[in-house]
Amino acid sequence: MPTTATAAPAPDPMGADRTLMPAPLTPEAIAHLEERARHVRLETIRLIAIAKVGHYSSTFSCAELFATLYYDAMRLRHGEPRWPDRDRFLMGKGHAAVGLYPLLADWGFFPKELLDGYTRLGNPLGDHPDMTKVPGVDFSSGSIGHALSAGLGMVMGGRMMGRRFDVYVMLGDGEMQEGQVWEAAMAAAHQKAGNLIAIVDRNGYQLDGQVDEVMGIEPLADKWRAFGWEVHEVDGHDVAALATLFRRLKQDKARDKPVCVIARTLKGKGVGYMEREAGWHLGYLAPEDEAAAIAEIMGQPTGLAILQGDAR
């Protein structure tokens, strides 16, 4: 992805002297996570059809992240959204919540039928997640830039309560422009919040266009490092790479630096024209186009992978 090309390749902060390499994922595990990511995309399409407007592309770029976190990395208990020792997940990019809801339902945090009323009057599921209404949502969002602070607060509160859980905060790359993110970044390093994991969905686009054109954020890894974080860069669509990285991070209990995972992704991943068109941040697919998108996600043998690679 050209947008991150200016950053020097990151040395592996967990390399060499530590033996934190978990067993490789089985092909079945990988296939399962890939299937879950597809599920996120398909449900996103289904739910946005109800709302008639939504953030397809923002959700598609983090579908593998959702899948890996919720089906491999995070410690959760089925049907117990308020289990006090659960890992937490917060979304700075709350506008991708449409992809999260199906997973929360799958975890038994609320009845699946609620999904069918997405954004309808009286239903708790809106474009942005509301913790007071939706079991399993660890924090409300929608105003970009607050989530890392809230996540840090959870780390601090957990410490006072004598609990150690991991707190994952997914941020947009456009979100890097909000100053509060850097306040939280500085504070997390100062607080040695080793169990705080920020994930930047580096999909290259924000609302008004390419992040680098709207308001450049590179060299992003350098920024996080200069703010005292351990930084990892990873292909955000490679579930095996993601799962391996998150497992390694979980094993490293001695870490006293917060971790930033920069996940290189494609905004709109899975639907070719969305990957190529900045305008898809928000939009709506009429039923026929929806069918085509679904077919593509289900893996029509179109040779798209190559074409997508060239897309930008």
């Binding site: 954004t119 009057l121 009286g122 830039g145 456009g174 979100e175 039923p287 074409l307």
Partner: protein
């Protein structure tokens, strides 16, 4: 299906994407066009936004006057303080973002850098109220009028529609104070014809009545007018005032209405605390008017999520709802 048509993208006219938002919200073009007109009249104005140029339609202005447009990215506070800096050099900046972010997130920057510093910055808070429907509370602004009204030295305007906004923007070229413009989502039907008369602080009396007078602002003027028509048609004596300027409030208009009518009903797409209802309450209580005030709006709660039209119906903020509210009061 072939790879080709997948790659070609949606062909169906029912599909649309963010860049086409402008077309879906014709009311927004008034903003860009009014600003373009200022530029073309030789005014030293510029426009800026924080990653929302399609939501507020400023893309249209940017295309026409790229040298007068600044993209600030998702950094609203920097945008407001920078606008103040720009204003010190003799350029008049208009900066726009969702009212929730402008009126709340940037409230301190507005007080310090804009209002206290007395710089002619123009702040455009769009999609105010619950216009962003199922985007939810983060994107709703039902506090901004109360907040902006508490800030000394700031003019607070809530135009009823695009034409009135355009007139207000035109008038703002010579207005000495900084201004907070609170506008809707650009899908509201027009109340006025092109470039209606507009004076800051001078309310517009649509109808007078003795039973009840509605004082409405912003997006609530149109449904109130519809409601008033129906109510008058059924023989009730109902007045209607468009209180487009919340601050400075047109006290005379309030007191005249309170003199004539037994009941004043404020209607606003805002919390009933502190906004238009609050401002009218202050004027009435201070004057000791005989009339009683009833405030209609969002009743100090967080709105449900739903499409905006569903919410307007639910909260009785559409014409039928306002009509019901009045009938219930007078029953």
């Amino acid at each position: 299906m072939t790879a080709a048509n997948i790659l070609a993208g949606p062909a169906n006219p029912g599909s649309w994407q963010y860049r086409q938002l402008n077309a879906r919200a014709p009311g927004l073009s008034y903003l860009s066009d009014a600003l373009s007109a200022l530029v073309e009249d030789g005014h030293l104005v510029m426009a800026g936004t924080a990653d929302l140029q399609y939501s507020n339609g400023l893309a249209r202005f940017a295309a026409r006057h790229p040298d007068r447009f600044i993209q600030f990215g998702i950094s609203e506070q920097n945008m407001v303080s920078a606008a103040a800096g720009i204003a010190t050099t003799g350029v008049m900046p208009f900066v726009a973002t969702f009212a929730s972010f402008l009126g709340l997130l940037c409230c301190e920057q507005i007080r310090m850098d804009v209002a206290y510093s007395a710089l002619p910055v123009r702040l455009i808070g769009h999609h105010a109220g619950i216009a962003l429907g199922f985007y939810g509370t983060s994107h709703h602004a039902t506090e901004d009028l109360a907040i902006m009204r508490s800030i000394a030295g700031l003019t607070v305007v809530n135009p009823a529609d695009g034409p009135q906004l355009a007139a207000a923007i035109k008038a703002s070229a010579d207005h000495p104070e900084p201004i907070y413009f609170r506008i809707g989502r650009g899908q509201e039907p027009n109340v006025y014809e092109d470039l209606p008369d507009f004076r800051f602080g001078k309310a517009i009396e649509h109808e007078t009545g003795t039973d009840l007078t509605i004082i409405a602002c912003g997006t609530m003027v149109h449904p109130s007018r519809e409601a008033v028509r129906a109510l008058r048609a059924s023989g009730l004596s109902i007045g209607l005032t468009d209180m487009h300027t919340i601050k400075p409030l047109d006290r005379d208009a309030v007191l005249a209405a309170a003199e004539r009518s037994r009941i004043i009903l404020t209607v606003e797409e805002h919390n009933i605390l502190g906004g238009l209802g609050g401002a009218v309450a202050e004027a009435m209580a201070e004057a000791g008017t005989k009339a009683v005030l009833i405030r209609h709006g969002i009743r100090d709660e967080y709105s449900l999520v739903a499409p905006p039209t569903h919410l307007y119906r639910h909260y009785k903020l559409d014409a039928a709802g306002i009509e019901t509210v009045v009938r219930d009061i007078l029953a």
